[in-house]
């Protein structure tokens, strides 16, 4: 099992790591005892994602998936962000090993959860 350069880059230099105080949207997926957990924080203005941060407990591909996903949705509309699928995440990473595709699903779910949180609070 080998990761692509893209995965390793996002794993070693993850973008948008951290927390946003008082986020407009917050999503949390997974649990430590399953070996993976992801948090997404969103700052949204006029329906546009102005800032995004994440924290992930999990394998390299979970970290890379979160990282690349935050890049994919930054400065996008909420509607656009909802279109992000795990397939797109995998492609953005130039592929993931078969046993690791579920980590990208986690990223998709975390984004969706954060946006739902934002929508429910509106």
């Amino acid at each position: 099992m080998e990761y692509t350069k893209k995965v390793m880059d996002h794993f070693m230099n993850p973008r948008n790591v951290g927390v946003i105080e008082n986020p407009d949207g917050y999503g949390k997926i997974g649990s430590p005892s399953c070996g993976d957990m992801m948090e997404i924080f969103l700052k949204i203005e006029d329906g546009i994602i102005k800032d995004v941060k994440f924290r992930t407990f999990g394998c390299a591909s979970a970290i890379a998936s979160s990282s690349v996903t935050t890049e994919m949705i930054l400065n996008k509309t909420v509607e656009e962000a909802l279109q992000v699928t795990n397939k797109a995440v995998v492609e953005a990473l130039d592929g993931l090993p078969a046993a690791k595709v579920h980590c990208s699903v986690l990223a998709e779910e975390a984004i969706k959860a954060a946006i739902e949180d934002y929508l429910s609070k509106k």
Binding site: M8, F11, K28, P32, G35, D36, M37, R55, F57, C59
Partner: protein
């Protein structure tokens, strides 16, 4: 960049002298050791001499040594072989909760064939609880199979104590000594076992050659059937170069063994002391038990193992999370869970395993780099709050 290999429990570098010993058995002495002509006789003599070397070092008879292809095969041959040969006497097998997949999955497979298996728990240090083992014995018990040292924690099991019990109860006793042979002194007859598996690539020998000690008088069914090689117990053309390499590797590994063990243990002690001093919230597993001198299992709280493994790898440091065999599946280690370690901490556990080529400089490099890797990963972790 410095490259530091600390995954010697997974496999080791073949010693140059081992390779040298093997070389003539590819293009020069290439006969089949079972052929009658002079090419075969040369090969046969080399095979015999390798068998003699290994037997002498293990203090067993030549007739008690079967060469196989892998440690997993040795474990299968021992466990399935006894199950088959003794099934008329009973259908109960005792093993532990911390066995290597080679033994564990074989026991589970035998359960599907109608055998009953008791998995004896371990204490928090990873040592099999002997009292539980005693209680598990039934009159149908035909086999106890128990590893000598665990591959993930290095914790050594009380084989001698247990062999007293199996002898009293006339139960065949197999030990998977794949992690101990070549690392600490191992003599199956002093341990009191009836069968013992070991594998060359764990002690700087070649991959693809392993052995099984089978005490004279112990009947053994077969796993693979065919021609007459290895007393018909393990047919197939013998990997002569491999067997010669294993003998040489064992010779090298057991020379000045006590001294080398002491050095390795000192290096590990230095490593563990520094790691604990430099990195908060870590825990060394099995520290209170007798361990292999070179194995160190460390749980890094709030992190997941694979990310640590890859973070260290990026710095040239090779370690493993759980055992190499399970790196494809994503479960937390059954060994650590059996010791009562929390799932989340089990996920964040790394095995550092030293070998004879590791230097103090290697360890100095690791204790310099590892804290940075851990710190960086923890900033990403939602479970970590300084």
């Amino acid at each position: 960049m410095r490259r530091v290999y600390l995954d010697n429990n997974a496999t080791t570098k073949t010693d140059e002298r081992v390779l040298e010993a093997m070389l003539p058995y590819f293009c020069e002495v290439y006969g089949n050791a079972h052929s009658m002509h002079s090419f075969g006789q040369e090969a046969g003599r080399a095979l015999d001499s390798a068998r003699e070397t290994v037997s002498n070092i293990l203090k067993i008879e030549k007739s008690e040594l079967i060469f196989t292809g892998t440690g997993v095969e040795s474990n299968n041959l021992a466990i399935r072989g006894i199950a088959r040969a003794y099934k008329r006497r009973g259908n109960h097998i005792i093993t532990s909760a911390i066995e290597h997949p080679g033994a564990k999955n074989t026991c589970q497979d035998l359960e599907r064939e109608g055998f009953e298996v008791s998995y004896i728990p371990v204490d928090k240090n990873g040592v099999v609880i002997v009292e539980e083992l005693k209680k598990a014995i039934r009159k149908e018990t035909i086999l106890v199979t128990l590893m000598h040292a665990n591959n993930e924690t290095g914790v050594v099991q009380p084989i001698e104590e247990i062999s007293k019990i199996t002898r009293e109860n006339k139960i065949v006793f197999h030990t998977d000594a794949v992690q101990t042979v070549g690392k600490i002194p191992v003599y199956p007859k002093e341990l009191g076992v009836d069968l013992m598996s070991f594998s060359a690539h764990k002690f700087n020998g070649p991959k693809g050659t392993a052995g099984l000690f089978v005490k004279n008088g112990i009947r053994l069914g077969k796993v693979i059937t065919g021609g007459g090689q290895e007393r018909k117990i393990r047919p197939g053309t013998t990997n002569l170069a491999g067997v010669v390499g294993m003998a040489k590797a064992l010779e090298l590994a057991t020379a000045n063994m006590e001294e080398k063990m002491k050095e390795e243990e000192e290096l590990r002690s230095f490593f563990e002391t520094e790691m604990v001093a430099r990195i908060p919230e870590i825990k060394i597993n099995g520290k209170e038990a007798t361990r292999l001198p070179g194995t160190s299992s460390i749980s890094f709280r709030h992190l997941e193992g694979e990310s640590i493994l890859l973070g260290l790898d990026y710095k040239g440091i090779a370690v493993s999370s759980g055992s190499a065999c399970s790196s494809d599946d994503l479960q937390a280690s059954h060994v650590l869970l059996a010791m009562g370690i929390e799932v989340v901490d089990a996920h964040g556990t790394i095995r550092f395993s030293l070998g004879k080529f590791n230097t103090r400089e290697d360890i100095e490099y690791v204790i310099e780099e590892a804290p940075k890797v851990i710190e960086k990963l923890r900033t990403i972790s939602p479970l970590w709050n300084e």
